[in-house]
């Protein structure tokens, strides 16, 4: 059975993060290049090559944890979910921090690796956030009945 369209508001919510966190910086860089008559045409991979996607993931996790902690789930479920989300967010953010530390100290660092790691972990955070929001939406309906 398909869910009704009203229950797909989590899709709008996650799209907001994708648009404002990923597409907006990319579009802004293209707009800047157009305004300054530059040949710069950065791809998202180049724009987020220092692991910035991990930072966006960490920001996303904060809002999901906040929603989870205010939910009518039992305390144990809320705690478990918050800890797991927090760990995923921390690991995502750590990619950006590690790249910065390596770059600053002259230690070997690969932007290819930072991009791949941050992309995978940001994907993890986005998918976890989406499922948690779906679960929260379901529980809100149950609690509201």
């Amino acid at each position: 059975m398909m869910a009704d369209w009203m229950s797909l508001k989590w899709l709008l919510w996650i799209s907001l993060y994708l648009v404002l966190g990923v597409l907006m910086p990319w579009a802004t860089s293209l707009a800047w290049a157009h305004q300054h008559g530059s040949d710069l045409r950065p791809r998202p991979r180049q724009l987020f090559q220092r692991g910035e996607l991990g930072l966006i993931g960490m920001v996303l996790v904060i809002s999901v944890i906040w929603d989870l902690l205010r939910s009518p789930y039992m305390l144990q479920t809320r705690t478990l979910g918050a800890v797991l989300l927090g760990m995923a967010g921390t690991m995502a953010g750590a990619v950006w921090i590690e790249f910065y530390c390596r770059h600053s100290t002259g230690t070997v660092c690969s932007s290819e690796r930072a991009w791949r790691d941050s992309r995978n972990l940001a994907f993890l955070v986005f998918s976890m956030a989406t499922v948690v929001e779906i679960l929260l939406d379901r529980f809100a309906k149950v609690a509201g009945q």
Partner: protein
């Protein structure tokens, strides 16, 4: 009679290095699959999980799934980087999914009994939602946590092995 060929000195294969991003990708796919099942089968999928829990098969199923995913992911990593599997990683991957599944099963029992003991409306539906959430969190933690532990132990092990005797 010809002289024996000199023994070829084989360089030992490096230890397989696990990156948390590899595990992250698999958990993300697993998570996405769970989410899609919830969206496209909002009634039948939770009902299957509830039935598995009532018959006592849910914990076992979670153990099997997480163990299979963990083992295949670790083998893929070792094959991809031509690394040598370590006993520590094998022990971690063998024990942690079972410990996580059993621990979360106990936690779920506590949550269900606490929910039932409250005086809230729509108790059965609340219990169903708690089971659904715990199943999801159990799957994610069963795959993600063993690799997180291995990843966190790797620098310690490397530092110990590089220390002069």
């Amino acid at each position: 009679m010809s002289a024996p060929a000199p023994a070829r000195a084989e360089s030992p294969r490096p230890t397989a290095i696990v990156r948390i991003a590899d595990a992250g990708l698999i958990v993300a796919c697993l998570s996405l699959a769970f989410g899609l099942l919830l969206v496209f089968f909002p009634v039948s999928f939770p009902r299957i999980l509830l039935h598995s829990w009532q018959t006592g098969h849910l914990t076992m199923a979670m153990m099997v799934i997480t163990l299979a995913v963990d083992a295949s992911l670790y083998l893929r990593v070792t094959y991809r980087w031509s690394g040598r599997p370590t006993a520590l990683a094998a022990a971690c991957l063998g024990a942690m999914p079972i410990l996580v599944a059993v621990g979360l099963s106990f936690l779920l029992q506590i949550v269900v009994s606490e929910t039932v003991s409250t005086d809230m409306p729509n108790l059965q539906a609340r219990v169903n939602e708690e089971i659904l959430a715990h199943t999801y969190l159990g799957l994610v933690s069963g795959v993600f946590l063993p690799f997180l532990v291995i990843r966190l132990l790797q620098p310690l092990k490397a530092a110990r092995s590089s220390r002069p005797a």
